[in-house]
Amino acid sequence: MSRRRTSLIVIALMLAPTLSLLAVFNYYPALLGLSRAFTRWETGEDPQWIGIGNFVAMWHDEFLRLSLRNLLILLVASVLKTLTMPLLVAELLMSLRSPRWQYILRTAFILPMVVPGMVTMLLWSFIYDGSVGLLNQALELFGLGALARSWLGESATALWAIIGIGFPWAGGLALLIYLAGLNQISSDVWDSCQVDGVTGLRRVWYVDLPLLLPQVRLLVILTLIGTLQDFGSILILTGGGPGLATHVPALHMYFQAFRFGHLGYAAAIGLTLFVAIFVLSVLNLLWGRRLEKPL
């Protein structure tokens, strides 16, 4: 073999910083998260093994059950948002014949991505503000002032207001991924569609969507994982309230750990959410396998 071998010492030196940092701050906490879920572990105390005690407690936790309902609504809504508006915008952008306008509009649509996530959240909290919020002002402008309310402050509307954030949900990562996917479709495919008279919605449904399935698959799993884990925005906007109207399991975990000091119980909720994410990822992978099988 002509290839010269690098001495093991050099290799070890190159990998050591990365591997030691990952060992301490990634592998060890991950393993700890798995094992501490089975302990009674309160802030400042040593953990005690209690088997599946935490999971039994979760089963009887009324708050958790209510938060699960909110999470399901949020999951369905977030997937629907990802699958509709960004795809519509991507298709409309592709239908424009001027590359220059396509580029300008694309840039304009992804512009909001540049704004820090927290600023967007705080801005939406201002939009929903009960006194001079943008939404109330807009309603008044159209003579619908009677509908004005504190959108995040009432249980009837709070969850829907959270879903409404980012309306019309048209830009962002999903748009970029759809555009990348559509750009990969060979122009021959669309030319022959044109010849065969398969145009408009029929082409989108029968030709584009099947070809976009890898992108759809990716976006669905990213959205599910993101929604399952996200509680920072809810913490900022409503704190889970009013009452439990916007409470979600991840937020429940945060409160259990950092407000009440039940670290072990919180770890059990964290582990459960991880298992949910893992199962969804595996299902997503299997879906991909099935699609790749030759017909």
Binding site: T18, L21, G33, R36, M113, P116, L123, L176, A257
Partner: protein, 276 residues
Amino acid sequence: MTPKRRLRPSELLAVLTLTALLVLSLLPFVMMLLLSLKTNADIFTRFWGLPQPARWDFYTQAATALQGYLLNTLIVTVVVVPGVLWLSSLSGYALARLTFRGRDTVFALILALLVVPGILTLIPTYALVQNFGLLNTRWALILPYLAGGQVLGVVLCRTFFASLPDELFEAMRLDGAGDVQIYRHLALPLSLPTLATIAIMSTLGIYNDYIWPLVTISDSSLQTFTVGVTRFAGEFNLDYGPTLAGYVIGSLPLIALFAVGMRAFVQGVTSGALKA
């Protein structure tokens, strides 16, 4: 010159729909700019009107209140991002171009971390940092960010280095170059676009992180922008103008980052996404 032609009806409909959606998407941000220059009285009486007079001093007020938080985020970013780039490129190079036993196992172990979500490790990492006595120090942010940023960093670098043609490396070896020289003078310069993608993603991750600094940093003189800005809103006694001005100021660093690296980011996201 392309000949002037009339829009087909379907194209006109597309343009109109896109314009309507664009207006709705950007309206909140336009209103943020407009209202950031108005006093409360001006907002309450003439919500949609132009500011009379424009209160540019709100921006100085907001900048004074936020500068400490922004500086803290900057310090953490400046320490973490170069570290992530350096360590990920070294490891990525070793895992892609050097042969040793267990190489694929090491890479598989790092890949496995991609599926470990933050929700699982939040509480254990907090307990760990607490045990180290690092709570409420910059290290509580720097060390976990440095470790976490490398997961994607190593994967992207390794994938990139593995895609380079062997001939390049052979040629340098024949000229008598050692691994350190090959890494410095061949691999590193070629990987600049990949490194730019990693740098942007790490910076975004640090800038937007809310929960970790919220739970680990209690001293507001060490707090980062994302947590700081949520407290800052309360400082102006519900004066909307200066608060919104602060939101604009807080967006400027990321706007600058994207102005420099948008192309790299879009390419990185879309090409990386397709490989997933």
